[in-house]
C-alpha cells in the first residue's frame, strides 16, 4: 500500500546529505528572520516559512518567493538555537519546487539554476556570457543595454575572456552525470 507523505515530511526527506535537525524542532523564535540580509525582499520571513511547512501548508509555501530569495549565506543556520540548517532547507524547497514545477511566476532563480547545470553538463566549466543568454531575455530593455555595456567593458579591460574553457574528459563527465540523473538531450 502506498504511503502518502505529508509535505513537512517530504521536505525533511529532501535534506538528504546534510542530516540537519528536523524542522519540527523549530522554536519559532525568529532569530533566522532577524538575521536574514534578504528578509525584506521575501514574501514570508524564514520563520513564517518554517511555520507553514510544519502546518503542511504546501500551496502557501510554494507560491512564496522566499526560498528563491535566499542567497545561501548560512547566517540563519549558524545562529539557529534549535540547530536547524535553514539555508539547506531553502535549497530543499528550491529542489522541491523545480521537481514539482510549482514556483511563483516571474522568478529568475529556477531558470538560472537550470541553465547553470546545463552549461556544466555541456562544458564542465562555468562561463558568464553563456549564462547571460538565459536570463537576459527576462530583463527590461534598459537592463539589457546596461548589462551589455558592462560586459563589453569587462571584455575590453581584459577581465572577461571571449571563449569558455572546457573540461578535457567531457564525455566521461557526461556519462557520470547520467549515472546520477537522466539528463536526456542537454543542448
Amino acid at each position: 500500500m502506498a504511503v502518502e507523505l505529508s509535505f513537512s515530511k517530504e521536505i525533511e526527506n529532501m535534506m538528504y546529505a546534510s542530516h540537519g535537525k528536523p524542522i519540527k524542532d523549530c522554536l519559532q523564535c525568529g532569530t533566522c528572520s532577524g538575521t536574514c540580509p534578504a528578509v525584506e525582499f521575501m514574501d514570508n520571513s524564514p520563520r513564517e516559512i518554517i511555520g507553514l511547512i510544519r502546518a503542511d501548508m504546501r500551496d502557501d509555501v510554494m507560491k512564496s518567493n522566499t526560498y528563491w530569495t535566499c542567497a545561501s549565506c548560512y547566517h540563519c543556520t549558524v545562529r539557529c538555537p534549535a540547530g536547524i540548517d535553514i539555508a539547506d532547507m531553502m535549497y530543499s524547497l528550491k529542489r522541491y519546487s523545480m521537481w514539482k514545477g510549482t514556483y511563483k511566476e516571474g522568478l529568475l532563480g529556477p531558470d538560472f539554476s537550470e541553465a547553470f547545470v546545463k552549461m556544466i553538463v555541456n562544458s564542465g566549466r562555468s562561463f558568464e556570457p553563456i549564462l547571460a543568454a538565459t536570463y537576459l531575455p527576462k530583463y527590461s530593455a534598459g537592463d539589457i543595454v546596461r548589462e551589455g555595456l558592462m560586459a563589453t567593458g569587462l571584455v575590453l579591460s581584459g577581465k572577461m575572456p571571449l571563449l569558455p574553457k572546457k573540461v578535457k574528459r567531457l564525455k566521461n563527465v557526461q556519462r557520470m552525470v547520467r549515472r546520477i540523473i537522466p539528463i536526456g538531450d542537454t543542448k
Binding site: 529532501m14 538528504y16 546529505a17 546534510s18 540580509p37 534578504a38 525584506e40 525582499f41 528563491w68 530569495t69 542567497a71 545561501s72 549565506c73 548560512y74 547566517h75 543556520t77 549558524v78 540548517d85 539555508a87 535549497y91 528550491k94 529542489r95 523545480m98 522568478l107 529568475l108 532563480g109 529556477p110 538560472f112 539554476s113 537550470e114 547553470f116 547545470v117 556544466i120 564542465g124 566549466r125 562555468s126 562561463f127 558568464e128 549564462l131 536570463y135 537592463d143 546596461r146 558592462m150 569587462l154 581584459g158 577581465k159 572577461m160 575572456p161 574553457k165 573540461v167 578535457k168 574528459r169 566521461n172 563527465v173 556519462r175 557520470m176 552525470v177 549515472r179 546520477i180 540523473i181
Partner: protein
C-alpha cells in the same frame, strides 16, 4: 616546499584573473607550492544544489577524487564558494557510506574513486596557519602603513560552521592585515552576505545588500575593501556604479583581493598581482 592540490575554480579563469595571478605570485614568495588539479570541473557554486543534491555532490567529488590521486594531502581553493562546496562534500563523503557508494558508482565513468580523505582548506587559512603570521610579517618589505582596510569575510569561509571557529566575530583576516602593516578597520558588516548569485536572480535584493555593505565600510573609515572570494569581489566592485545610480550615492572605494594586498606588502611587481594604478597610488599616498 610544501605542495598543495590547487583548485582555482572557474571565476579565477575569467572575471577574477587578478586573484589567480596574485595568488600564484604570493604563494611563490611564501614558499607555498600550488599544483593545479588536472582537468578539474566547475564546483557548482550555489546553482547545482537547487536542481539535484546528489549531482551537486558528485561533481564536487570528481575534483576531490582528482586531488586524492595526486597523493597530496591538502585541497586548496581561493574561492569561498568552491571551498565551502568542497569542504561540505568531503565531510559528507566521510560520514555517509551510502552517499560515498552512490558517488563512486558515478565516478567509475571517469576512472576515479573518492574516499573523502583530503584536508579541504581556503587559501587564506594556508597562508595564516601553515606559513604563519610571524613569517609573513618578516617577509613584509613594504608594510602598507596607514592603509585602512575593511576585511570583508563574506559568508562561506566562516559559514556554515566547520569546526569551533568564531562565526560571529572572526579575527584572522584582521590579524593578517596587521601582519602586512595595514590598518584593519572594525565594522559590523564584515561577515554579511554580498548577495551572491542574487545579483543575477534578484538584482534589487542584491544591490541593497551591496549598498549596506559599502555604506558601513566607508562610514567606518575604510579606504579600501579586501575580499577573499571572487563573487564578493565582483558584486562589491563591478556593481558599485549600479548601487550609486540606484541609491543616489557616490561610492568609489577600491576593492581588492587580500592576495593583492599581500603581494604589495611583499614587494611583488604590481603587474604580477594585477593591481591597478589607482590602487597603487592610494597605497603610496597613505604610506608615511
Amino acid at each position: 616546499m610544501k605542495q598543495y592540490a590547487y583548485f582555482p575554480g572557474c571565476s579565477l579563469e575569467s572575471l577574477s584573473k587578478n586573484y589567480n595571478i596574485s595568488t600564484q605570485a604570493v604563494a611563490a614568495e611564501l614558499g607555498v607550492g600550488l599544483q593545479e588539479l588536472e582537468d578539474w570541473n566547475c564546483c557548482g557554486a550555489t546553482a547545482y544544489f537547487p536542481v539535484d543534491e546528489l549531482l551537486a555532490y558528485t561533481l564536487v567529488s570528481r575534483n576531490l577524487a582528482i586531488a586524492e590521486k595526486t597523493g597530496l594531502t591538502d585541497f586548496v581553493a581561493p574561492c569561498s564558494a568552491c571551498y565551502k562546496n568542497a569542504y561540505a562534500t568531503n565531510k559528507y563523503l566521510k560520514g555517509d557510506p551510502d552517499l560515498l557508494e552512490h558517488i563512486n558508482f558515478a565516478l567509475e565513468e571517469d576512472d576515479l574513486q573518492v574516499e573523502g580523505k583530503m584536508k579541504v582548506r581556503h587559501l587564506i587559512e594556508v597562508f595564516i596557519e601553515d606559513v604563519g603570521l610571524e613569517a609573513i610579517k618578516e617577509k613584509t618589505t613594504n608594510p602598507l602603513k596607514g592603509l585602512r582596510v575593511a576585511p570583508y569575510y563574506g559568508c562561506q569561509i566562516v559559514r556554515p560552521r566547520k569546526d569551533k571557529e568564531d562565526v560571529e566575530n572572526p579575527q584572522f583576516f584582521e590579524q593578517l592585515l596587521s601582519a602586512i602593516g595595514a590598518e584593519p578597520i572594525d565594522y559590523a558588516s564584515k561577515t554579511r552576505c554580498c548577495g551572491g548569485s542574487l545579483i543575477i536572480t534578484n538584482r534589487k535584493a542584491a544591490l541593497d545588500m551591496v549598498y549596506k555593505l559599502l555604506q558601513d565600510a566607508v562610514k567606518s573609515g575604510a579606504n579600501v575593501i579586501a575580499t577573499t572570494c571572487p563573487m564578493c569581489n565582483v558584486n562589491v566592485e563591478v556593481y558599485q556604479g549600479q548601487v550609486n545610480r540606484e541609491f543616489g550615492t557616490n561610492f568609489s572605494i577600491p576593492v581588492v583581493y587580500f592576495t593583492q594586498l599581500m603581494g604589495m606588502a611583499l614587494g611583488v611587481e604590481p603587474k604580477r598581482i594585477g593591481v591597478s594604478a589607482s590602487m597603487l597610488s592610494l597605497a603610496q599616498s597613505t604610506v608615511g
